[in-house]
Amino acid sequence: MSLEIESMLQGKDIVIRPIGEVDIYTSPELKNSVLSLIEDKKTDIVIDGESLDYIDSTGLGVLMCIYKKLQEKNLNFKIVNLKPNIYKLFDITGLNKVFDIRE
């Protein structure tokens, strides 16, 4: 399974929906796609995890990188709709306390 990335404007936010698996092979695609959106649009970012089936430590690192980039620009970052098996990794690594994660 590979990764597809959908993005849409919702109100003043850009919602990014990764579909599939974010791992050491696919995470550069997510990073480049979101960072270029931040540069172009300069808006808050929401990651919708509804169709995210798997994420590894490199994927979590990419989310951290996106978070830092948005902080530099005084923009907000939110993660929604994570599946329980995915949320577990945020919990283990303590990133659930760093990111704004909502159901």
């Binding site: 399974m1 590979s2 698996e21 791992d23 050491i24 092979y25 798997y54 590894d56 430590s57 490199t58 979590l60 690192g61 098996n85 990794l89 283990i92 690594t93």
Partner: protein
Amino acid sequence: MDKVFLRIPKKSEYMSTIRLTSSAIANLRGFNVDEIEDIKVVISEICTFFIKNLEESAKDFEISYQVPHNKIIVTVRDLNDGRILEEKLNNDMSIMIIESLSDKFNCDLDNKSFTFEKIKAGVD
């Protein structure tokens, strides 16, 4: 006790193949969905750790699965030359995840060989 061996290129594009193979073996041996997910994540993080910390990649990963009745024992060896410094284990997100999700974990940096065990719920 059945043993399964997988020898696969040390390339990031094979990570999903490694996860799929691991899931299939764990499923065949009766692990539940949550345990299969943990096994898949741990194997993937071990391979990711080797890819991140040992640049040489001409040789393969060698993964062995042993499944006694109540657990799975998985060893991942990076067959490439080179050395991984012990300090790489500190504060590494992969290691944090591996230690949390496995029931027993041993890393042999000299042989570039990591082994973990996952115990099946409800089986003595």
